[in-house]
């Protein structure tokens, strides 16, 4: 049994908020540079060059890659042999509060979806906790911009719609989003479970490194096929036309009801940010 005060989470989250917002993950940099190398359309090449220049400036000067520093999603995997002392929710929010204040990040959260008064400190975090074996805590901070979040969709398909129905829904979602989510995008797909689990899986898919494909060869092949088909749509970087509409498609799935085929598509932009630490 390891004993922790929840304040250890506050410090780690504050640091990760800044790092996640200012340094684009290496796998994303690699995807963008690969896309630049294979992009045949001149306008698109020019935009990818600017995107590469932008994350270079952000990392060098420790400034946010994008002004939408997002709502702060925090994923905690807590080992069952860990004993945490204190108020977990308060400790997480304090980490976000400090990170967004000290890192000069934008406060983009309103306290109430209808009355819309800014909370002023980017809290509360969107907090997910999971209990896992072991005596460690793994925490991931993922700032989520809403240009792409707003273009995300969920459908409760019928089992008879099958894999073709799933593909059609994903392609339609990306095509209708067009230029709005700041392509090139990363597409997170959640399949199965219930209405809410499908959405969660889609978000979780965006946390996976784009260096990794689904462990199941069937789903890895589906990810590859969807990426090719999305990149044949012609939307291109920023929607001005071109090959590079998406940089990766990641699918997460789980068992579901005999009557259902939930599919959720969570879209992220080329500034797909997440940073993980293990305590």
């Amino acid at each position: 049994m390891r004993e922790f005060s929840v304040s250890i989470l506050t410090d780690a989250i504050a640091r990760l908020c800044v790092e996640a917002n200012c340094v684009l993950p290496r796998d994303m940099q690699t995807r963008i540079e690969e896309a630049r190398a294979t992009e045949p359309w001149e306008t698109a090449q020019g935009i990818l060059d600017k995107i590469i220049e932008n994350y270079g400036i952000a990392e060098q000067n420790t400034v946010p890659i994008c002004q939408d520093t997002g709502v702060c999603c925090v994923f905690l995997k807590i080992g069952l042999d860990v004993h945490l002392h204190g108020d977990l929710r308060a400790a997480v929010d304090e980490g976000v509060r400090r990170g967004y204040r000290d890192g000069y990040l934008r406060k983009s959260v309103v306290a109430d979806p209808l009355r819309r008064v800014n909370t002023g400190d980017n809290t509360p975090a969107m907090l997910y906790t999971e209990l896992v074996p072991g005596d460690r805590i793994e925490l991931t901070v993922a700032p989520k911009g809403f240009g792409s979040e707003n273009m995300s969709r969920l459908a409760m398909l019928k089992p008879s719609d099958g894999v073709e129905g799933v593909k059609a829904f994903i392609l339609k979602t990306v095509e209708e989003a067009g230029p709005n989510p700041c392509p090139p995008i990363v597409v997170g797909v959640g399949l199965g479970g219930t209405f809410d689990k499908a959405a969660y899986l889609a978000k979780k898919a965006l946390m996976r490194s784009t260096d990794e494909r689904n462990a199941d060869p069937y789903y890895a092949a589906l990810e590859a096929e969807l990426l090719d088909r999305i990149n044949a749509l012609g939307v291109g970087p920023q929607g001005f036309g071109g090959r590079t509409t998406a940089l990766a498609v990641s699918i997460e799935w789980m068992p579901t009801h005999i009557a259902g085929l939930p599919v959720a598509v969570n879209i992220n932009c080329h500034v797909t940010r997440h940073k993980t630490a293990v305590l």
Partner: protein, 185 residues
């Protein structure tokens, strides 16, 4: 080749800027997002004056990050424009001639642009660190309580934008995509 445009954009100048033109904007622009647009339109609907001169004004849809010490402004890329669609026709009728954002616009906005003479530019979404280097001065004009969404007056130099929709209604999101797809067949 990029077109250098000195702001303000008059209705006559607006008519000369065409969909697909890469432009470098220099001069004064104003920032406003959804919350500020709502307030501006409420004033307009009540027949009250706006807190800045809307005649020939260009509005940039941006909510920047806070400036670090020594910075003019933080990261400052465009936000998605369709959220302003409900308000833009009112502002265009009052004299707004330029809009900078990213993403699609409604038929109502395009109709107002054609009728009065206005242009819609896109800046690169997600390139906020790069774009902020073109902003030389920034000051809050009004609605400070909105935080990042306050209206700011910015002086920009060579702000890189692309005209997506021109005052004839031509749309780069449609023409660019079809030109690329044709090139692949």
């Amino acid at each position: 080749m990029e077109k250098h445009i000195q702001l303000p954009i008059t209705r006559e100048i607006a008519r000369t800027i065409k969909s697909g033109d890469a432009c470098l904007l220099s001069g004064v622009i104003y920032t406003a997002r959804d919350a500020a647009h709502k307030r501006l339109c409420e004033l307009a609907d009540a027949g009250k004056p706006l807190p800045f001169d809307i005649e020939n004004a260009t509005i940039y849809y941006v909510g920047p990050t806070p400036a670090k010490p020594g910075q003019v402004i933080g990261s400052a890329g465009p936000t998605t424009s369709y959220r302003m669609d409900a308000y833009s026709p009112t502002l265009i009728a009052l004299g707004e001639t330029g809009m900078i954002g990213k993403g699609k616009r409604s038929p109502e906005v395009v109709e107002a642009m054609k009728r009065y003479g206005a242009v819609y530019f896109a800046a690169i979404g997600g390139a906020g660190a790069l774009l902020s280097s073109c902003i030389k001065e920034a000051e809050i004009v009004c609605y400070e309580d909105l935080g990042a969404e306050a209206v700011r007056r910015l002086r920009v130099e060579d702000l890189p934008v692309v005209c997506v929709i021109d005052s004839d209604g031509n749309n780069l999101y449609e023409s660019g995509r079809s030109a690329y797809l044709r090139s692949q067949n």
